[in-house]
């Protein structure tokens, strides 16, 4: 709004209808300290007044791995591509957890923060961004567990423990970013819609769980039946998890096509998410 010298005099113009593409990134940058503060708050409040503290970050993936190994590995006998079952499941769980945490936590951002959003202005996008970063801390801790397990299996080889880190490890940060943005984008769309139509909230919790079975968390893509393979590949998380497994363990279908597909889907979802979120944030206080 710099059409006339008169209007450019003002620092801020609050209007009913703003451009759809006015995303206020500069504002977000100005509030970066707040983002750091929120991350710190989440981390500290998580372990205050618990006995085990940050150890809780380990417990969930360890137990899930044990259960998966028992149910899917031993009882159902699903292939793990010749990898040690524990490592196979743990890589899947670690990366899937990060994605699903980002998605489910951002999908309730408006509802959970209605009271604070109703009282004070700050760029609303700070909140979901801080969730994604907070989860990164948790992801990092779980990654340590994975590395530890890899070391263990390296020095005490069991039958079929043929795994190695590949060159694809250099893409690791990029893969994490991709998961974060995909989870964020989907979460933003869902939270924006749930301010008005609450039905979606119920869908999210079990939807994410079901989606896990549509992703290559408990089975390798190579073991998927031919007629479902196409559908599983349509899931953008499949390419990411396969690449993740290929980078750390040397097995999985890592192609530039599958990653390229995930990147395109992620960018579309993220853009859509941010646009809808920005449109909703202006007036959601009145409807929630």
């Amino acid at each position: 709004m710099r059409s006339t010298p008169e209007t450019s005099d003002w620092d801020l113009v609050i209007k009913g209808h703003t451009s759809l593409f006015d995303l206020k990134f500069k504002d977000i940058w100005n509030y970066r300290d707040l983002l750091v503060m929120f991350v710190k708050r989440d981390f500290v409040s998580f372990y205050k007044q618990t006995i085990l503290g940050p150890l809780w970050f380990f417990i969930q993936p360890i137990f899930t791995t044990i259960v998966f190994t028992f149910v899917f590995g031993n009882l159902a006998g699903i292939s793990t591509d010749g990898l040690p079952q524990q490592l196979f499941y743990l890589t899947g769980i670690t990366s899937w957890n990060y994605f699903s945490d980002c998605l489910t936590k951002t999908s309730t951002v408006f509802k959970d923060n209605a009271s604070i959003f109703g009282k004070v202005y700050f760029p609303r996008l700070i909140m979901p961004l801080s969730i994604v970063v907070s989860n990164l801390v948790r992801f990092g801790v779980q990654l340590l567990l994975l590395l530890f397990m890899m070391l263990y299996f390296n020095f005490s080889p069991v039958k079929g423990s043929d795994f190695h880190i590949t060159y694809a490890i250099v893409f690791f940060p990029f893969l994490v970013l991709l998961m974060a943005l995909l989870g964020l984008g989907l979460g933003l769309i869902i939270t924006a819609i749930t301010t008005k139509y609450k039905d979606l909230t119920f869908l999210v919790t079990f939807g994410v769980q079901l989606l896990m079975y549509g992703t290559t968390v408990i089975y390798p893509l190579s073991a998927a039946p031919e007629k479902y393979k196409r559908i599983i590949e349509l899931n953008p998380m499949t390419g990411i998890i396969e690449a993740f497994r290929y980078a750390f363990l040397g097995r999985g279908e890592f192609t530039f096509w599958s990653i390229g597909y995930s990147v395109i889907i992620t960018l579309i979802v993220l853009l859509l998410g941010i646009l809808i979120f920005n449109k909703t944030e202006k007036n959601f206080v009145d409807t929630i």
Binding site: I14, G16, D33, L34, K40, G118, V120, F122, K198, D286
Partner: protein
């Protein structure tokens, strides 16, 4: 002529009342089609009505604010006054960007910090110090700024001893002190304050008002202040805005604003829809009128004061079974007067439709007072409304010599003799 820092043009805000949710998908699509594709006005906003709570409107849309225009100059301390539901909070929400306007625009120069509530975002598990950083950041401060002002903030709050204790262990007073301390040290050019001063003890309230005075007078920053406490508004503000049913009723200097507000306020009040009432409801307060010497006069210090209640007495209960108490307090809850039908003997025997309380000489100094009313039938509570209505007392010629005692000297005036010997 100083520079305008806030300019509000044709500002309106519509709310949808009643149920939101069911059946709105089709309406949303219809609205989207009309506004975005055809470029027409929103079809569901057409039936605009003014925002009057007591009459039931025809449509689901109410205009909480309608066509508001005003300008605020740099360094002004502006009081925003109006009855409950007049649109004060909505205006503050729009100014602080919590929600967006329906039409119109607000132009702002400088940074706005708004205090619609103290302690927004305080986390109970974090220590006082950590919460200062968190709350400061939420209010828009950079970390460096907070670090620079940390000692000042802790000092102002007066909770130094507990600063590294989680705030969940704080008393509510300490909590509020800390929260206000953070807010008071914001370095924004414009500060918006809602009635946050209603909390904390009297000493701290004074400190807060003092600090706000410093901000506007000493530091040349612009303050917008919303309160029902006319004394505080008068003390703090130079200009005022009076809102009435979502519209701008008056805009000018603060004395004129207050008297304009009081005029619209001192006569009668419907009580039949009063909230928070208790009791069996056998006999209910329906309406109250407060007036001075006669029904057209305002209440003036030293003159007569009359309170007339209209009753809803459908069960035909006679006056010997009814007891009525009226207590009058100031805005800090100090009790000043109590009268009761149990203190007098009432001889006639009838089914009352109204009760008049007549005080021959009003001892209140100018200010606003609040009345709590209580009625029993056969010693059982029938109707009990706390802070049911306000009594606004204008300064008057109490001592019959034309001299006026300032409100800050005393809230009560008493006849006296002074003998020198």
């Amino acid at each position: 002529m100083s520079k305008a820092v806030i300019q509000v043009e044709n500002l309106s805000k519509a709310y949808q009342i009643g149920q939101i949710g069911t059946g709105t998908v089709s309406r949303d699509l219809e609205r989207f089609f009309a506004t975005k594709i055809l470029g027409k006005d929103d079809p569901f906003l057409k039936i605009g009505e003014t925002n009057d709570r007591s009459t039931k409107g025809k449509s689901d849309i109410v205009w909480s604010l309608k066509d508001i225009n005003f300008k605020i100059n740099q360094g002004d301390a502006v009081g925003i006054i109006g009855k409950n539901g007049a649109g004060k909070s909505t205006l503050l929400k729009l100014l602080s960007r919590v929600t967006g306007p329906t039409t119109g625009e607000i132009k702002v120069k400088g940074r706005i910090a708004s205090l619609l509530e103290v302690g927004t975002g305080f986390h109970p598990e974090l220590s006082g110090r950590e919460n200062i950083y968190l709350n400061g950041a939420i209010l828009g401060m950079r970390k460096k700024e907070i670090t620079r002002k940390l000692d000042e903030i802790i000092d102002f709050s007066g909770v130094e001893r507990y600063i590294d204790t989680p705030v969940k262990r704080y008393s509510s007073g300490m909590y509020v002190r800390l929260a206000f301390a953070v807010a008071a040290h914001l370095e924004s050019e414009i500060l918006i304050v809602d009635e946050v001063l209603a909390v904390g003890d009297a000493e701290f309230q004074k400190k807060c008002l003092g600090k706000m005075g410093d901000i506007s007078k000493g530091e040349g920053r612009t303050v917008l202040f919303v309160s029902h406490n006319m004394a505080a508004v008068k003390n703090l503000c130079t200009k005022g805005i009076v809102l009435e049913n979502g519209q701008l009723a008056f805009n000018g200097n603060i004395e004129e604003c207050i008297s304009k507000y009081l005029q619209g306020n001192s006569f009668s009040n419907e009580l039949i829809n009063a909230r928070g009432r208790k009791g069996s409801g056998k006999v209910k307060f329906e309406k109250v009128s407060v007036f001075g010497n006669d029904e057209t006069q305002n209440v003036v210090s030293g003159e007569k004061l009359n309170i007339l209640f209209n009753l809803e007495n459908n069960n035909g209960i006679s006056n010997d079974r009814i007891r009525l108490d009226v207590r009058i307090e100031d805005d800090f809850g100090q009790r000043f007067s109590w009268v009761s039908s149990s203190l007098v003997s009432i001889e006639n025997d009838l089914v009352p439709k109204s009760i008049l309380i007549h005080y021959p000489r009003n001892n209140f100094n100018n200010g606003i007072y609040f009345a709590t009313i209580f009625m029993t039938v056969d010693d059982e509570v029938s109707d009990f409304i706390e802070n049911a209505f306000q009594i606004i007392v204008e300064s008057g010629n109490f001592f019959s010599n034309g001299k006026i005692v300032p409100e800050k000297q005393s809230k009560i005036l008493m006849d006296f003799d002074m003998i020198f010997s």
